[in-house]
Symmetry: C2
Subunit: 497 residues, 2 copies
């Protein structure tokens, strides 16, 4: 490969010129990737890694059809959407055709953060209200307005983190949440909590503009809301004058297998008022979209403020977006996600029977979480063990991440071309690792790495997108310039991977 | 060309599927562009337009070197910055080398809006303060946090538009502003106004996090701050505990000719604390950057919050960024901007002598404004006349825009490959138009299109980036689905272009 710098030089330049808040994967020994194809990434020595985490490379890394479409359009024209262009309208037509009919109006932007910010603006203008209901542990983006509504981030800012206009509803997590799998109707119970928030807010003279939730919580811990929850929430939120925003930035575009959009898992009778898209939409190209109803779009337009986004909806982005849709269709990647996802979940469920560390296996399609616990009854998060596994897997050239509020959930969200063999391969690796951990230092480590340690670690939470694997053993490691230095005082050598 | 839809069909689909707040250029007869090369754009009939407005296509539309670099990298790898990659650090090294030494730490993002939002986060974290001083008529982006600090936008929202933490300083416009060209020291006078704001704020228990300004105001009306202004402002803002953010989104990357960055026009002794970049950085590819000092970057890191941007700093964006820097250098585009810009300004100054409508000609390099006035003494903005000219030029296949708070400033910001001949060509066209307007209906029109009419027009201000040419004759036209319909009650036919 055509390396310009040695890995050490790359690291040194990164320390010098890249913000220390920008973390790398596997900080103790970061990976330098020089090329990637399909579900594989290759480092500077040509070593091949199986990629189980890059949901952005949705149709596979460096997909030739996507590259071809990009090149063809780049050679012709790349300009803003103030000029008429066929790609823009053709893409909007194709994209809205994947959604329920009433979601017919698009705004093209450049990132999931821009999309969620615009969704809030739409909701506020339409409702005339300001307040937002968000789920606990939610992450919706890195711009100021979204950190405000992301408990995943603002919880780290101490007491002043939560603004008055933000209302946090419990995450509809039936494994670790408030209402669990043994509850007769967790969907209604969780929705009732949202209802209570709307009533309480109104009592305090506050007005709800929107409820926002990922169709399935990603950073929040691969949480799949019980079916029927969104319908009931939408009813209560509408009653309060607000709208329902479904954040599909992580989970859209066929990943869930059964449907094209994550929110559709709730049932055909559910349609959000606003849908935001991102990551996989352009297979890595910076693009994103907000889709809403004619009614909301017209209310937004009626403010008199124009909306112009310099790069949003440019012909190159739209050509790429179209190519991604084409490839999903041609290669039946949604079907593949369903088939391979089912297989992966089956294999992981076998692990659950075999290894007491595996507390829960949950997922749909190629969006799967494996929650590790120290004890099946108390469900104490096995955070250090999860970190151990992802570090060991990395040594074995498989990329996996751990996320969730306790960072104890192994998280699968591979490129959609992931195969049955890939699924078998990674689960076998995990099996071997779990087997090796039985009766070794696990018990000793458990007491050292409690979730409290992790939570108070200062640098403990990871910026979302499940890249939390840059964190090592909670507060046991110190940061310098965005790189974790040697962990200090970690008594269990086996965990120091 | 490979048109999929007729222009009418494209329009119809756009009405159906694109948010009505997203406006098109020349709404009465929008242009469909299918390809572009250098400083020329071509419509669906192969008609060629001279492009005087697209500063995003910085090194020229569809530049082959930029496309080549993009393709080469897209075929290899496009992934996030959690993996080490040479392009990221090489680009950061090259980019910071164009800046004063203390500006050494980069954050790569996707748009000018993301950049300015992050700049505010950096400033707030570093200073521990919240308040922001912004210039009147400023536009800094479309996300919630930036509309808050953009008078260009929030003035349209009525009394409640301005938040308490926002302080508006007068725009340092020596032609139309508070202190004019006849003032002995406008730089000090404008800076003193900022000083007063900091003192007043402190009296009210408020604390300044940042002063933000474009190095030259673009939407604000091609305003070139008098040299020495930034130095003094920085002194007062630092004293108040805040930082200086130079927004180079519109004007950076050699456009001003004499220097690579707009803020450098203030003198070598001025260095901002944070610089934001955007539009031209990737010649149309969605990318952007914030550069700051080690001290600010470390304070931001110390918060414990990570900063992760999914697409920001990906190897494709960085490869494109590097190619843009290469082309600027290889083709001496900064030198070209200086030479052609000087020529353009000279030609326009001749127009000023010849036509009483031309009140002021100002600019540096290929960032030039021509302010049209009804009267040289009163300086009453000649808004309708400016709109007339850009519509007539469009008929003659030259793309120019009009901007500023009164939309009476003809605004030049062409691709940097603009030639002497192009300059002569467009100025000749303007000359002919201005000549044709002498003694015709100009006087009659003047009274019909006062700046007040424009200001109160509801849809009168344009979203920035100087694309205000979608607005026709102030409030004389009604909007339907983002398209201006026929203007009603415009008595002067000659203006209805």
């Amino acid at each position: 490969m055509s390396e310009i710098y040695s890995k050490a030089e790359t690291l040194e330049l990164r320390r010098k010129h890249i913000g220390p808040s920008c973390k790398v994967f596997f900080a103790k020994d970061p990976i330098k990737i020089v090329r990637a194809q399909g579900q594989y990434m290759f480092d500077e020595n040509g070593e091949k890694y199986l990629d189980c985490i890059n949901n952005v490379a949705h149709v596979g890394h460096s997909h030739p059809e996507v590259v071809k479409a990009a090149v063809k359009q780049m050679e012709l024209l790349n300009t803003n959407s103030r000029f008429l262009h066929d790609n823009l309208v053709q893409y909007a037509k194709r994209l809205t055709a994947t959604l329920p009919e009433k979601l017919s109006v698009c705004y093209f932007v450049n990132s999931g953060s821009e999309a969620n910010d615009l969704a809030l603006r739409l909701a506020r203008q339409y409702s005339g209200h300001q307040d937002v209901i968000t789920l606990d542990h939610a992450y919706h983006g890195h711009v100021t307005s979204l950190i405000d509504i992301s408990p995943y981030k603002f919880h780290q800012l101490g007491k002043e983190g939560k603004k008055e206009f933000v209302h946090v509803a419990p995450s509809p997590d039936i494994y670790r949440g408030k209402y669990r799998e043994n509850h007769p109707d967790p969907a209604s119970a969780y929705a009732d909590d949202v209802k209570k928030i709307t009533i309480e807010a109104q009592k305090n003279g506050r007005k709800i503009a929107a409820f926002i939730a990922e169709s399935m919580q990603s950073c929040g811990g691969q949480v799949i809301p019980p079916a029927g929850y969104f319908q009931k929430v939408a009813e209560y939120v509408h009653k309060a004058g607000g709208v329902f925003i479904a954040d599909e930035v992580q989970v859209g575009f066929g990943r869930v297998g059964k449907n094209f959009w994550g929110f559709q898992l709730q049932g055909e009778d559910f349609v959000p008022d606003i849908v935001t898209m991102g990551k996989p939409i352009g297979n890595g190209h910076p693009m994103s979209c907000v889709v809403t109803t004619r009614e909301i779009a017209e209310a937004f337009g009626a403010s008199g403020l124009e909306y112009f986004n310099t790069f949003g909806g440019n012909p190159v982005s739209c050509a790429i977006g179209l190519a991604v849709l084409d490839v999903i269709e041609k290669e039946d990647l949604q079907g593949n996600a369903r088939r391979v996802g089912n297989h992966l979940i089956e294999l992981l469920k076998e692990q659950q029977k075999k290894h007491p560390l595996v507390g829960d296996v949950r997922g749909v399609g190629l969006f799967v979480g494996v929650e590790l616990v120290k004890d099946q009854q108390t469900r104490t998060p096995a955070t250090a063990e999860a970190q151990h596994i992802i570090y060991k897997l990395k040594e074995q050239q498989t990329l996996l991440s751990a996320d969730g509020p306790h960072r104890n959930i192994l998280k699968f969200k591979p490129p959609m071309c992931f195969t049955m063999e890939d699924a078998k391969f990674v689960v076998d690796q995990i099996d071997t690792l779990l087997t090796g951990m039985h009766g070794s230092c696990t018990a000793g480590c458990s007491s050292l790495f409690t979730s409290t340690t992790i939570r108070n670690g200062g640098n403990s939470y990871a910026e979302c997108v499940s890249e939390s694997i840059s964190h090592i053993n909670g507060n046991a490691c110190r940061q310098v310039n965005g790189f974790y230095t040697e962990s200090h005082g970690v008594p269990c050598k086996r965990i120091r991977t």
